[in-house]
């Protein structure tokens, strides 16, 4: 059994996590069956064929969105820390006031007509991606009394095979709401939680323009740890 396998209980959240109430009726309760990888698990879609969005979320409308302009960049790596080139990265987020451009978001914060909050790009030959966006706001949710999600950006990643598919969230360093967030805290390992917290990056910060954050993402799959 590989080291990654032994540690996997500490990295991914359990399905059932009572502090996050929505897991109660949606968490599978039988243990998933471990299968040998077949052709379906070892292959995946061509990212370029799935690319629909743009990497700059601040230029999708006639006006500029309100909020703090930021750059989020990093590398997508496989379990052996090799860069994954040409792989699709999709993001979505709330606006600076903490409101999603989604019909069912009832948070009484303003929508921003200049901000949708969805983007996508492909990694370059070194596995690098880069988005320009605005810093999302925290927002309340009804999970428990006075519940607030820390500011976050949702990330969807494909890697090179079905086994590497990942949807996760990026958080911001120093956010006091992380300590109260049952979704972030559902990750058993404190070290693994920290992997979802971006690092402020002065080298990516552009003078007179935007603050930079670095968020590197290592994907799973077993091929690097046979």
């Amino acid at each position: 059994m590989s080291a990654e396998r032994r540690q996997s209980g500490g990295v991914d959240p359990p399905f059932l996590h009572p502090d996050y109430r929505s897991t109660a009726l949606r968490a599978p309760l039988r243990p998933p069956i471990r299968i040998q990888y077949g052709p379906s698990e070892l292959t995946g879609p061509d990212g370029a064929a799935l690319l629909r969005g743009q990497a700059d979320l601040t230029r999708q409308h006639a006006g500029e969105p309100l909020g703090e302009r930021i750059i989020i960049h990093g590398r997508v790596l496989d379990a052996g820390h090799r860069p994954l080139a040409g792989t699709l990265v999709e993001i979505w987020q709330a606006n600076a006031a903490g409101r999603y451009a989604h019909d069912l978001d009832q948070h009484p914060a303003p929508l921003d007509p200049s901000f949708t909050g969805a983007g996508a790009c492909l990694t370059d030959a070194e596995g690098h991606y880069r988005f320009v966006t605005i810093k999302p706001g925290a927002y309340p949710w009804k999970n428990h009394a006075n519940a607030w999600r820390p500011a976050h950006v949702h990330f969807s990643l494909f890697g090179r095979s079905f086994s590497q598919r990942l949807i996760t969230q990026m958080y911001f360093p120093g956010d006091p709401l992380l300590a109260y967030d049952p979704i972030w805290r559902s990750i058993p390992s404190p070290a693994a939680r920290e992997r979802l917290v971006a690092v402020f990056d002065m080298t990516a910060t552009e003078p007179e323009w935007a603050l930079g954050y670095r968020f590197d993402i290592s994907l799973g799959g077993r091929e690097a740890t046979p």
Binding site: V11, D12, P13, F15, Y20, S22, T23, L25, R26, A27, P28, L29, R30, P32, I33, R34, I35, Q36, G38, P39, S40, T43, G44, P45, A49, R52, G53, A79, H81, E90, I91, W92, Y100, A101, H102, D105, T116, G117, A118, H154, S156, F162, R165, L166, I167, T168, Q169, I183, W184, S186, I187, S189, R195, L196, V199, R214, D216, S218, L219, G221
Partner: protein, 171 residues
């Protein structure tokens, strides 16, 4: 810099303005000869629909298709994917995988993806020889992975939890 695999987090309730595409459910364009429609509902442990889920399918064959389908669930937990039926695939080790779709399921309340497979009821011989189905000892559990033909195509409901919980895989 951080090292180690990134943990999963829930897709949350508000992805529908970002992830679904108009042609997402169409692995092949509508009207493609021999196209099949795989459809069903995503249901929770009480049998209630999950209206904020995302179903993704992947198939390594036939060549020439995009292979990938994505459909957000509707108010009734319903989804549909239009594709070509995959071929059986022989592995270098000699095993032959029956025609199937690999499926990822995401939803609010799912802290990480669940993975399952859609097999086809009219491929009984191939299904009997499939190495993954062979891992599932319980016939009722195995049956959760077999899509039956109905008037809409192939029917594949996903029960996230409960007596009829779908078999999920650890990949």
């Amino acid at each position: 810099m951080r090292v180690g695999r990134a943990p999963a987090q829930t897709i949350g309730p508000f992805f529908a303005f970002a992830l679904p595409w108009r042609d997402g459910p169409f692995v092949v364009p509508e009207g493609t000869p021999d196209a099949i429609r795989v459809h069903g509902r995503l249901l929770d442990g009480r049998g209630d629909p999950v209206p904020d889920g995302l179903i993704e399918t992947w198939q390594a064959s036939p060549a020439g298709t995009r292979g990938f389908g994505r459909c957000a669930t509707g108010a009734g937990g319903d989804y549909a994917i239009v594709t070509l039926k995959p071929a059986a695939i022989a592995t270098p080790g000699g095993a032959v995988h029956a025609p199937h779709l690999a499926v990822s399921i995401f939803a609010r309340g799912l802290l990480r993806r669940t993975v399952t497979r859609v097999y086809f009821a009219d491929e009984a011989d191939a299904n009997r020889a499939d190495p993954v189905l062979a891992e599932i000892a319980d016939a009722a559990a195995r049956a959760t992975l077999i899509a039956a033909r109905d008037e809409g195509g192939y029917r594949f409901d996903v029960h996230l939890q409960g007596e009829r919980e779908t078999v999920f895989f650890d990949v």
